[in-house]
């Protein structure tokens, strides 16, 4: 048995840190786990994605189209871009945030309207404003860990040693706020 998780967003949103923390926690909890991400050009404000697969005897590190049990989109348009990765009955978690692409910002084309309404039509879809929630904690950047909390609750894996992984992987001055962000995320799902 195994589960497939995919995290998508825009370069700079912290998808990679969330992925690292989750991967470390899964390892410490005794799962076989593989993770894959694409570095390089896409870091510069482009679309980014990372894959986590866990369970027993995982071979491929890649989540392919139609196979994600959980898809977490840190930005709304990215949710649609990667929608074909989530299983038909898989859980989709979306951060209700618009980030312009250079094409929409330069006025070459419009940022699409009604994405949230479109996504809401799908069952098993959960939409949150993690950016606003992060601001209430005093740092917009922790939206990535809030979304990680939502995901962990959705996976029913609240006992994963995420807090320990945060302590291992986050810079000391940001550990406390990230712990708070994770707990806030846990309380949000449902």
């Amino acid at each position: 048995m195994f589960k497939n998780v995919k995290l998508v967003g825009v370069g700079g949103q912290g998808t990679i840190l969330s992925t690292k923390i989750l991967t470390q926690a899964l390892l410490n909890a005794g799962y076989d786990v593989k993770m894959s991400e694409i570095h390089g050009m896409s870091q510069r404000g482009g679309s980014v994605s990372s894959d986590i697969r866990f369970g027993e005897n995982i071979s491929s590190p890649v989540v392919v189209k139609g196979s994600a049990d959980y898809l977490v989109a840190f930005e709304q348009m990215e949710a649609v871009r990667y929608l074909d990765y989530v299983k038909k009955d898989g859980i989709l978690i979306v951060n209700d945030l618009k980030i312009h692409s250079m094409l929409t910002q330069a006025g070459k084309t419009k940022y699409p309207e009604d994405i949230i309404d479109y996504l809401k039509e799908r069952e098993h879809t959960y939409i949150y404003d993690a950016t606003e929630k992060a601001k209430t904690l005093g740092n917009q950047k922790v939206l990535n860990i809030i979304l990680l909390g939502v995901l962990v609750k959705a996976m029913k894996l609240e006992k994963l040693p995420i807090i320990e992984a945060i302590e291992d992987l986050v810079k000391p001055q940001f550990i406390e706020i990230n712990k708070k962000a994770f707990k806030l995320g846990l309380s949000m799902f449902g």
Partner: protein, 597 residues
């Protein structure tokens, strides 16, 4: 101890455990983190080289002198290093030596999809291909023993998904190797023709011995599930195959792939009704199998390009399509990568864009290749590292033959690319009386691959400080008479300088001097030079903003247009106060945010 490591971290650990003492590389996705991680081990001398050829040559010297050595590079880097590689293949090693090639099936961050397994066959050297992080660590330890036993450099072929995926690794301990004392041996190491002719025979005998090793090594193994379907595979494609077929097939898993094990493959083919060769990029194994007269399925059913992920395999073999949601793609707009907020390339490209009709732009490899996209659309071609100056020179020579064409060539590369091979290209332009405008965008770091230090950054890989290379002095020493060094965030000066260069009828060099916004380490003198870099922020005065969007031509991602109020605003969290938009605004509606002054 168990750790979860990327393939790059794991192979670095393996090199450490194998007793490597010297490693060199030039950064390139997906190979960069190999040397970065090797650099963390104090027992190993780890150096960034200005290019891959230099890296491999340093490594060859280290091997000749008796220390285990390692070079790592991306696939196209091996093209640069191919010259020394092919002679190293003849001389062989004193202490073991491994060249890691990180290939890119799917071209996530590269200009081509070349399959560097062909280099091992071409150079007639040993090759290994790990499939996951544990193998990446374990196999390289054996690679050094093979290199020494068979007197061969070894090509260690990884791919993006092996390099950048994480899996669990059981760590071992470092085995310190005594240096092999260097003794002069000109009949082995001086590759003049007379000796080359002798070594040529050694290379052929070595291949025969390596072929025997290939038959019996544990890295080439059969996994028997009592199936009549047989799959031959290597690298990450083996993991994908296992995912796709599970226990429904038998596998011949090849980890040692040059020379390939003829008898093992032959018997495996004979023992199975249907044989599939599952490999990424070229039909490297497939051609070998077919040359033996064996029947198999390969690129006739699998795609010739891209990653051979489980879904691709299932589609090709089982004609099985997954039930996939079809998203409404009308709701999706492309999101190409962009210059960061505060990127010092922005001001230069903004001003250069105004001359669009008068110029042809020869581009190069680095962050500035992003100027190909919106809103700049400023790049006519991009070939390879260092090619901007030389290809620009060739183009200008031909353009100038047409009396009705007065366009000027602007050739653009970064500091690291200039050190890589741009210097040679600039020498060529000067010596041959070229007339191009040559721009060095000096951001004091190797940016695109993730802020690696280089000879101009002031730091070495393992942290020691050094004197930064003086680009202006080098350019003048080469013989360029017209050189200007400017702050690219000062648009007035950028504009003046571009006009100055366009008026000249001789080759010129413009050096833009401002650090990458992501550069982490500064010396005291740098901090003085780049006063207040990234410490301020800009803001929009709403009452003055008329919503003309002129500032958006800067291409800065911190600028946001509100369609309801028809006003611009600046994202406070990402703006670093470079002032480029402030200078563009025709209504003085952008000012320094006093909160941050």
């Amino acid at each position: 101890m168990k750790k979860i490591l990327t393939g790059n971290e794991a192979v670095a650990r393996g090199a450490y455990e194998a007793g490597v003492v010297f490693a060199s590389a030039y950064p390139g996705t997906p190979s960069t983190e190999i040397l970065e991680n090797i650099g963390l081990y104090k027992e190993i001398i780890a150096e960034w080289a200005p290019n891959e050829k230099v890296a491999l040559e340093s490594v060859i010297g280290a091997s000749i002198a008796g220390g285990r050595s390692l070079a790592s590079m991306k696939h196209v880097g091996v093209n640069v290093a191919a010259d020394p590689l092919f002679t190293f293949a003849y001389t062989g090693v004193t202490a073991g030596s491994v060249l890691i090639s990180a290939d890119e099936p799917g071209m996530h961050s590269s200009q081509n999809e070349q399959d560097n397994r062909n280099y091992a066959k071409f150079a007639k050297i040993a090759m290994m291909e790990p499939s996951n992080s544990q193998e990446a660590k374990d196999m390289i330890i054996d690679a050094y023993d093979i290199s020494e036993k068979y007197d061969t450099p070894l090509l260690y072929r990884m791919t993006t998904r092996v390099c950048h995926s994480k899996s669990i690794v059981e760590l071992g301990e470092r085995e310190e190797k005594e240096l092999i004392p260097y003794e002069k041996n000109f009949s082995k190491y001086v590759a003049v023709p007379a000796i080359g002719r002798q070594l040529r025979h050694k290379v052929e005998k070595r291949l025969i011995a390596l072929a025997e090793y290939s038959e019996q090594t544990k890295w080439n193994k059969i996994i028997n599930n009592k199936s009549n379907i047989g799959i031959i595979s290597s690298g990450i494609a083996f993991e994908y195959s296992k995912e796709a077929f599970g226990k429904e097939a038998d596998y011949l898993k090849l980890g040692f792939t040059n020379p390939l094990p003829k008898n093992l493959i032959s018997k495996f083919c004979d023992d199975h009704e249907k044989v599939y060769i599952i490999e990424e990029n070229d039909p490297y194994i497939e051609e070998f199998v077919k040359n033996m007269g064996k029947k198999c399925f390969g690129k006739d059913i699998f795609p010739y390009t891209g990653e051979m992920t489980p879904d691709v395999i299932k589609r090709a073999v089982l004609h099985e399509n997954m039930d996939i949601l079809q998203p409404n793609m009308d709701l999706v707009v492309n999101r190409p990568p962009t210059f960061c907020s505060g990127c010092p390339h922005r001001g230069f490209f903004y001003e250069l864009g105004k001359k669009r009709k008068k110029i042809i732009v020869a581009g190069d490899i680095g962050c500035y290749s992003l100027a190909v996209g919106e809103p700049y659309n400023l790049m006519d071609w991009l070939i390879c590292m260092g090619a901007a100056f030389s290809s620009g020179h060739g183009a200008q020579s031909v353009i100038d033959r047409n009396p009705n064409d007065d366009r000027r060539l602007v050739s653009i590369m970064g500091d690291s690319t200039f050190f890589h091979t741009g210097i040679n290209s600039l020498i060529n332009t000067v010596y041959n009386n070229g007339k191009t405008i040559n721009v060095i965008l000096d951001n004091r770091i190797t940016g695109m691959t993730g802020q690696q230090d280089n000879p101009g950054s002031g730091y070495k890989l393992q942290g020691e400080e050094n004197t930064p290379l003086d680009i202006e002095a080098i350019v003048k020493a080469i013989g360029i008479k017209h050189v200007r060094k400017i702050n690219p965030n000062d648009l007035k000066i950028v504009k003046e300088t571009i006009n100055w260069a366009l008026e000249l009828n001789e080759a010129s060099v413009i050096i833009t001097d401002w650090p990458c916004v992501l550069k982490k380490k500064y010396k005291n003198e740098d901090i003085e030079q780049y006063t207040n870099a990234w410490k301020t922020k800009d803001k929009v005065l709403e009452d003055k903003c008329v919503g003309c969007k002129a500032c958006l031509r800067s291409g800065c991602p911190s600028l946001v247009f509100n369609p309801e109020t028809k006003k611009m605003s600046i994202d406070e969290t990402t703006c670093v106060g470079c002032d480029v938009c402030l200078q563009i605004c025709p209504y003085d509606a952008i000012v320094k945010d006093e909160k941050y002054v």
